[in-house]
């Protein structure tokens, strides 16, 4: 349960992960469909397989700190997903957890820092720049919006809503881009005109966070 300031507890963060799992399941076919157009038709099944394993593990382990939780999430994704998204999502959560640490509850600034750390991890691993038509095109604006909101004193809940909206915009802005990273880059100019599947799934991730922090 969130405290008066709306800081996120480990429980809230578990709800986030559960919610992300639900959203991935719900949008699995859609993600694979997006990946069919400019990739290899597996992004939905990759994430579904990984998040199935994650929730099974999290439910069994019942982690009590953000650090524990995200180590489990990250390691499980790394070892069950494969593909590009396995190491990238895995790294995101491992870094997110490293930043969040063992604190019992995270305020907007701490959450923003964790999000930024996760994003930086993805960039360090994948070496993508904004505009390359990858998941960071949704994650980067989300992290930026979060920081702006948090600097302005927003609660985690409001920062998450701002981040979610920014992620959606970033996701949609991948449509006209010519991919320079990931499989879509093999298509050259033909990659333009289509949404990046990873940007779509990371938008679900931020949506899940906002859902988790807005439901009572």
């Amino acid at each position: 349960m969130r405290d008066v300031a709306g800081d996120a507890s480990t429980h809230d963060l578990i709800v986030w992960i559960e919610r992300f799992h639900d959203l991935v399941r719900e949008h699995q076919a859609e993600l694979t469909e997006l990946d069919s157009v400019i990739g290899d038709a597996d992004h939905g099944s990759n994430l579904a397989r990984g998040m199935d394993a994650v929730v099974a593990k999290v439910r069994a382990d019942a982690p009590t700190t953000p650090a524990d939780l995200f180590k489990t999430v990250g390691m499980t994704l790394v070892s069950t997903v494969g593909g590009a998204s396995g190491p990238l999502y895995g790294t995101f959560f491992l870094r997110f957890g490293g930043s969040a640490g063992a604190s019992e509850s995270l305020d907007a600034t701490a959450l923003g820092a964790a999000l930024r750390a996760g994003l930086d991890g993805v960039v360090a691993r994948g070496k993508a720049a904004p505009g390359d038509k990858t998941m960071i095109d949704a994650l980067t604006p989300a992290a930026d919006a979060w920081d702006t909101a948090a600097e302005g004193g927003a609660s985690p809940r409001d920062a998450a809503i701002a981040a979610r909206d920014a992620a959606r915009e970033g996701r949609d802005a991948t449509i006209p881009l010519v991919a320079r990273k990931g499989r879509a880059s093999y298509l050259g100019e033909r990659s333009a005109g289509h949404l990046d599947p990873g940007a779509a799934s990371t938008t679900l991730l931020i949506e899940a966070l906002s859902d988790a922090l807005t439901t009572p």
Binding site: A41, D42, S45, R49, V81, A84, G86, K181, R183
Partner: protein
Amino acid sequence: MKKFINDPADVLAEALRGIQAAHPDLRVDLDDRVIYRADATRAGKVALVSGGGSGHEPMHGGFVGVGMLDAACAGEVFTSPTPDQMLAATKAVDSGAGVLHIVKNYTGDVLNFEMAAELAAAEGIRVESVVVADDVAVQDSLYTAGRRGVGTTVVLEKIVGAAAEEGADLDAIVALAQRVSDNGRSMGVALTSCTVPAAGKPTFDLPEDEMEVGIGIHGEPGRRRVPLASAAEIAKLLVDPILADFDATGPAIVLLSGLGGTPLIEQYLMYGEIAPLLEQGGVEVKRCLVGDYITSLDMAGIALTVVKADDELLRLWDAPVVTPGLRWGA
């Protein structure tokens, strides 16, 4: 979707069971999804580990055996295996002489093998990697994911496998692998899409009168869609970009691989068109393979690989090999 499968989620696990049943020379770890030579790595022999998404059979599992790979990690269909699998394989085959990871240039493969190499290094194993990026359909650039790794991988695994069998050390193996990689180029074309079991329908729709040029091995669309052409015209579409990409004159090993749904009679017909074009281009085909060696599920398509090969590479190519997919000399 018309496939010989049960639940799409079980395709890989069940195919591995079949590989295990069919090949007593191999040991299949069904939990880690790694295919090993049944015998342990000889002391002092550098071990070769490859792997990648499934759906490219016989690559890589079919190239495990004497004179080729020591282990192959099998990912889900078209999905790179995970670092855990690669680490398990690396630890299992290292005899102390070090391990070469043979990686095809896809973001997923590169990242997962990178993580595995870091983990193995942390456990004190010497790991080196070679990344194959030979697909001339993709523009090579510092700012992109670069070229895909395709057919040269097969030739590399054979040649480097022979050198490892002969006792070459890890530095020599790395240099040799890089040499093969640098000297290989590939180009593919598809007449149909493939169907990923978990997706349940063709990755893309291709009208009866069109084809995709510059295709990879993951069912992704090619560089361009053009009207269906004759075998003679397609042969030019495959040969020309390769000859334009590097100086291919001189002795070479040539691989013409079906992509899974193309019958051998068509592959031979294509080779009949390709061979004279290569000759005109100054390529001296010293060895060649025609057949399904690196596939893309049930895709009707074909891919040409040309690897320039001097006498040493040819000698290593000719050395004995005993694997499900390539076998000679023993």
